[in-house]
């Protein structure tokens, strides 16, 4: 069960996922700056070590430098979080969510068609 992480920690995870599931500390700092987040060095270190403690990252040394490797892929994380979300709000049923998406027009008809076809294919496969 993956522990909940804060927004800022999620930010860092996204950066690492974008870098191919592993990144050097320096690269992370660079990416943060590019995304407009000018966090202090110690802040980033603290957040990264929290992620390590929670089992989402693994840290290793390459020479002098620290490398952070994601232990959970982005899709795995998304699905896990989705499940939590569903459990919390929709009693675990995806149907309710989809209904909301459609009703609130969060899901456009084109996207809905897309999803439907995707789903048909999946069902045939199994």
């Amino acid at each position: 069960m993956i522990q909940q992480i804060s927004d800022s920690e999620l930010e860092l995870m996204k950066i690492i996922w974008a870098e191919g599931d592993s990144a050097l500390y320096a690269a992370i700092m660079e990416q943060l700056a590019e995304r407009g987040k000018h966090w202090q060095k110690n802040t980033v270190i603290t957040l990264l070590s929290r992620l390590v403690e929670k089992g989402l990252l693994k840290t290793s040394k390459i020479g002098h430098r620290n490398e952070y490797r994601a232990l959970v892929s982005q899709s795995d994380y998304q699905s896990a979080q989705t499940q939590i979300f569903l459990d919390k709000l929709y009693e675990g049923s995806a149907r309710g969510l989809v209904l909301t998406l459609i009703q609130k027009e969060i899901l456009s008809p084109e996207d809905y068609e897309d999803v439907r076809q995707f789903w048909e294919k999946e069902r045939e496969r199994r």
Binding site: S8, K37, Q40, N42, T43, I45, T46, R50
Partner: protein, 671 residues
């Protein structure tokens, strides 16, 4: 027992220091830096935990005197003293006990009597006084109790700490707001802290606190503080981390555990906690202006109000423990002044004095064992037999195998037991079990020799050997230790040594224990130093063989003076050696007999009784009967019956130089 005494003396010394500090600090509370006031306690902590002391110190002598008084009480207590005497044997006459390396001793069981026996003339005996069985038992019990309580207390503190930390961690929420974390990072930089600290919130803690020895974790009851206050809070905690206050606090806790019986130490602990925060405050506000200081004070004030109830005073370093101390702290903040030069100088001087005082106060040092180590070996008359026990082996240990250090001699036994049971038949040639060697000092100014003989054959292999030809023409192989090697090249020394050995050889050649396999243990050139001065020195160093050698050369007045000193110091081993070297008709024998009799010092008296004639003993016995001194009666009676052992098959020979044997058995002389 000695450890217990050391601990008590450390506690006592430390208490003196604590009292001094507690009484004097309030006087200059506002004038001296708070940091100094916090760290000066380390002197007291060191005094309480480090068993270092100059040889002669205030508390050391105090405790040594106490020990002597206790010893005297034990010695002269009528009830049970017989028991003690017969068990232990730490009186001069009971020199038939042999000191094993592990401080146990063996008792002569072949003697029918249970009371100490007097010495026969002229046996070179030195006796060491091992701790009494009883005393060491009591001591062990006390030691165990003390240690057990200390350990239990420490365990409890540790478990309390651990559960506190667990609780705080369980209920914590990490602060993930990058803004706050950034501010933390900036404060870290300002405070000079390199390791990034964690920042958590747990509404249940009573005040902001710092957790962790190596990885600092700051826990706040709430984040909803004005920016400035948050900053000061964090600074305070980071300062605690920087100064490693956690380690200091735990050191103090350990000291408290060790001295759990001393309320002053507990008091000191509380005071140190307070001084800790005060010193931390001072460190933070030293870089602030007046306004900043006021804001800092506000922070403290509000922090005490906020927060939950969960706290553990000894565990974490907090912003403020309770409101009581708040007043003192606020006062200190508002009254803060930059420390003046004179104040620093004064505190430095005071520190130096305190350290010197702590050193001088000292603690109880184990001096008794010095004698033991110099006379670690078997100290009996020349080549005494080992006592035999009828039945069981008293000792389960062996002497350590001979090594090259002076004085360690290999015991003869092949099996693991040191004795043979039963009596030796006259035909038995194997007298190897239990040969001991004597060790004495011989002084021919300016050379002072320490010589032993009857060295065990195997040990001979670990020493170098030289041949000396005695004046009678007989060639004697003489062993010597490393240290004597170079000296023996000197012709004068060799001739001195030859002279001494010749004399010894003459003396002992017709006895049961002739001079064979002598070992020269040490050679000293005393130059032109007066014997009296040498005697003083050797006495102070507990160098018994050397002292004994020099004593013979003293004039009557000095001999009397030294004897009195030895007697007053209750130094039984020196006493018996010296007494046995006095002339038969020395008036000192009589005067000390009187003295020890009236002082009830039975062990000293029995040494003297060894030099008395039968008639003298008889008259003392009558006197003891008249005075109702039972122990003396018993001792004297046994002394008499020793003399009348002539009818026994294993009677001692009455030649000059023959020694009173342990088992009264004949020994073969191997030529």
């Amino acid at each position: 027992m000695n450890t217990v005494k050391t601990i008590l003396s450390l506690s006592f010394s430390g208490s003196l220091l604590i009292l001094i500090l507690l009484l004097t600090k309030p006087l200059f509370r506002h004038r001296v830096s708070r940091q100094w006031q916090y760290y000066i306690w380390l002197v007291a902590v060191a005094r309480l935990t480090l068993p270092v002391s100059p040889r002669i110190s205030l508390v050391g002598t105090l405790f040594q005197n106490m020990e002597q008084t206790v010893q005297e009480i034990l010695f002269s207590s009528p009830a049970g003293s017989l028991d003690l005497l017969s068990q232990s044997g730490d009186d001069g006459a009971e020199n038939r006990t042999i000191l094993l390396s592990d401080n146990r001793f063996l008792q002569d069981n072949t003697a029918q009597q249970d009371s100490p026996r007097p010495q026969k003339a002229d046996s070179p005996v030195s006796v060491t006084v091992p701790d009494r069985h009883n005393r060491s038992e009591v001591g062990s019990v006390i030691l165990f109790l003390w240690l057990g309580t200390a350990a239990a207390l420490l365990m409890r503190k540790i478990t309390l700490y651990q559960s506190f930390v667990r609780f705080v961690r369980a209920g914590k929420k990490e602060i993930s707001d990058p803004e706050l974390l950034d501010r933390l990072a900036q404060t870290e930089e300002v405070s000079g802290v390199r390791q990034p600290a964690e920042l958590w919130v747990n509404p249940l803690v009573s005040s902001p606190l710092l957790l962790g020895f190596f990885r600092p974790c700051i826990v706040l009851p709430s984040v909803h503080l004005p920016e400035e206050q948050l900053e000061y809070t964090i600074r305070h905690e980071l300062t605690h981390y920087k100064r490693k206050d956690m380690f200091y606090k735990w050191l103090v806790q350990l000291t408290i555990c060790l001295h759990w019986f001393n309320p002053l130490v507990w008091l000191m602990g509380r005071r140190i906690d307070q001084d800790c925060d005060l010193a931390c405050d001072e460190a933070v506000i030293s870089s602030l202006d007046a306004k900043g200081r006021q804001a800092y004070g506000d922070t403290l004030f509000h922090a005490v109000k906020a927060g939950g109830d969960y706290r553990n005073p000894l565990v974490s370093v907090t912003l403020g423990k309770d409101s009581k101390q708040l007043k003192e702290r606020l006062g200190a903040i508002m009254g803060y002044k930059k420390p003046s030069r004179s104040a620093s100088a004064v505190s430095l001087i005071f520190t130096v004095f305190l350290i010197l005082g702590a050193h001088a106060a000292g603690a109880y040092a184990d001096t008794g064992s010095q004698e033991l180590t110099t006379n670690r070996l078997l100290l009996l008359g020349p080549a005494e037999r080992m006592p035999k026990t009828n039945g069981h082996d008293r000792s389960s240990g062996q002497m350590p195998a001979g090594d090259n250090s002076v004085g360690s001699v290999r015991w003869a036994s092949e099996k693991n037991s040191l004795f043979k049971t039963g009596r030796l038949s006259p035909a038995e040639e194997n007298y190897e079990d239990g040969f001991l060697y004597t060790r004495q000092g011989y002084y021919e100014p300016p050379y002072l020799f320490e010589i032993g003989w009857n060295l065990w054959e195997e040990s001979g292999n670990s020493y170098d050997c030289t041949d000396l030809s005695l004046s009678s023409g007989y060639h004697l192989p003489v062993y010597f230790t490393e240290t004597c090697k170079s000296d023996l090249q000197d012709g004068k020394i060799r001739s001195s040594l030859t002279g001494i050995l010749t004399g010894l050889w003459e003396e002992t050649k017709d006895t049961e224990y002739p001079l064979i396999r002598p070992l020269v243990i040490s050679i000293q050139n005393t130059g032109s130093i007066e014997p009296a001065v040498l005697a003083e020195q050797f006495y102070a160093n507990s160098s018994l063989p050397q002292f004994q050698a020099v004593f013979a050369l003293l004039d009557n007045h000095d001999q009397k003076r030294f004897l009195e000193k030895i007697y007053d110091d209750r130094n039984i081993s020196f006493f018996s050696r010296v007494i046995n070297k006095l002339d038969e008709d020395s008036p000192l024998l009589a005067s000390f007999s009187e003295k020890s009799y009236s002082d009830g010092q039975i062990n000293f008296f029995s040494v003297l009784a060894g030099r008395m004639t039968e008639d003298r003993i008889k008259s003392w016995l009558e006197r003891a009967i008249k005075d109702g001194k039972v122990r003396f009666q018993l001792m004297l009676t046994s002394a008499l019956s020793d003399d009348s052992e002539a009818d026994e098959p294993f009677a001692p020979k009455e030649d000059a130089g023959a020694e009173h044997r342990l088992d009264g058995g004949k020994a073969k002389v191997k030529k």
